[in-house]
Assembly symmetry: C2
Homo-oligomer: 320 residues x 2
């Protein structure tokens, strides 16, 4: 719920026995934790329930979060298209695709799903979980240039240097704006790497920021993901009416194949303010790719479609 609590309460009389649901990611779960603590202190009858929803997939204790599967599906789809496009040129070319993820590489990792019988997948994948070293990046790129006509690299916007600075902080004229939760806005990582490659090799790499398209492209969603979003919401309502409070609904995976997941309410105190990152064992030793385990984890989440209702040539949105 991006409009925040003020927005929610603005035009509304709240019955103080109402359950209160907050749908979102880490910042929203921080809010649910604070509210449920306050509720406890004041013996409030309001039940505070968190409902997970973030493309970032970085909430603790849950196998994954609604939103992630659809964003991953969009990212893998356009990654396939970018790789296909890059392959039609005679001239050697390089594309650096910047994908969201401040400290967790879940979205960037999903670019690997493009790989299959009809697509070679990105050549390199850099996540924020591993320290990024510019010299070894340049050496890796230089080797690739000698082998391949067309090179596609996926990088997380949040890749960081050994000293802890984000790579995008190296951009000289980067203005540091903060979002409504006080996080510095990232961006420009791919452009910086492209400039670095040009300076090193005189070779032009094209920087592509997927930007907000990866979070708002409702025309390409995973039906598994959308279905699970409803399940999580439904379970939150059921749990709240049963009297639970200070919980978030989590997903527990039973098996990958066939994909099976259950949901359960879980103590918000063990979830709030913890960022779940991609396990290091799912990233290759040299930090330039992800493992087959990641693919087995992510592939079920992008399955099946929910085709938009098309009106006059475009997907119809329910309200303005």
């Amino acid at each position: 719920m991006r409009n925040g609590i003020q927005g929610f309460l603005k035009n509304r009389i709240v019955d103080l026995s109402d359950p209160f649901f907050y749908i979102g990611g880490n910042d929203s779960m921080d809010t649910i934790q604070k509210l449920s603590h306050y509720g406890n202190m004041t013996n409030s009858s309001i039940r505070f329930m968190g409902v997970p929803k973030t493309i970032d997939n970085d909430l603790a204790e849950t196998d994954h979060t609604p939103g992630y599967g659809s964003a991953a599906k969009f990212i893998a789809t356009v990654m396939k298209e970018i790789i296909k496009d890059a392959n039609v040129y005679d001239r050697q070319n390089m594309h650096i695709v910047e994908i969201m993820g401040r400290n967790a590489g879940w979205l960037t990792a999903s670019s690997v799903l493009s790989k299959g019988e009809d697509c070679i997948g990105p050549d390199l994948i850099y996540l924020p979980e591993k320290t990024f070293d510019i010299d070894s990046f340049l050496a890796t790129v230089d080797n690739l240039r000698k082998e391949k006509q067309s090179i596609v690299i996926a990088v997380s916007e949040g890749i960081k240097l050994k000293d802890g600075r984000y790579v995008c902080e190296l951009i000289s004229n980067q203005s540091q704006f903060k979002d409504s939760f006080g996080h510095a806005a990232l961006g420009g990582t791919a452009q910086f790497l492209s400039n670095t490659i040009t300076n090193a090799f005189g070779f032009k790499a094209r920087a592509i920021e997927l930007n907000i398209l990866q979070r708002c492209s409702s025309h390409m969603v995973s039906r598994v993901d959308i279905t699970e979003a409803f399940v999580a919401g439904g379970h939150a309502v059921e749990a709240a009416f049963r009297g639970e409070t200070g919980k978030m609904i989590i997903f527990n995976r039973i098996t990958n194949n066939p994909y099976q997941c259950t949901t359960a309410p879980f103590d918000i105190n063990k979830i709030a303010n913890i960022e779940k990152k991609v396990p290091l064992e799912w990233i290759t030793e040299n930090g330039t790719y992800v493992s087959p385990e990641f693919q087995s984890y992510a592939r079920p989440l992008i399955q099946a479609e929910l085709s938009p209702i098309m009106v006059d040539g475009l997907p119809s949105h329910l309200y303005t």
Copy 2:
């Protein structure tokens, strides 16, 4: 045919009575003109036929070009999604969406198709056909800021100042690379305007480059467009086998509603090296929007879908 003639001929014995088809945009039609002149000079029996295919929609004499409808559909789709996304925030926000088009604004203009019952459409649309003035842009933006919570602006990468320079040339560290036809690579226009707004108002506008996604997003195509691409190709083959040469297939529109078009071979000399621009009467007097006539023209071209064949969660591509 982006790989060029060399690529086409590389592994192939050419029967000199074969017809020769070149599928593409302005550069390709320039090639067909040259080849057909050479064919005439040498009394060659090869028939040289151009088949239009460019998202830029800037070929002369034809009502439109295959490729444009699908790119326009993708642009209008993501524009709706960007506008929707921008509208969920409490905080005032501004997005500047940079769309391809070096000298012709067809693609950028298609952003207006997002406008409808469920979407307000972009607030401003700037095409390269009209001179861009930074001061009046800032004044317009300043007025909008006083009225609207969420502002979305579509700009062509090719907008130009009164003195003829591209706006993106004002970027201090812009490196000037050329593509394989010797055209300077554009880009960074939205980022430049975003920085200009920040400097003027201390207000952060987010720059979004649709980048190559707008030309390669095969998961969101117009069925009208794909069908017409086959029709144009078929007509070129028919005409060549009938003995025509030095021609390109053009589309002639009969009516908008119902949409009806015919195809015909047309003298390449009247097409090659002419860029068809958006008519000035389809752009508002102040240069900040497009007219309903443009919408009537473009809307039929984005109709109907050709859903991709989905395999394991992603659109399948026919070959690697």
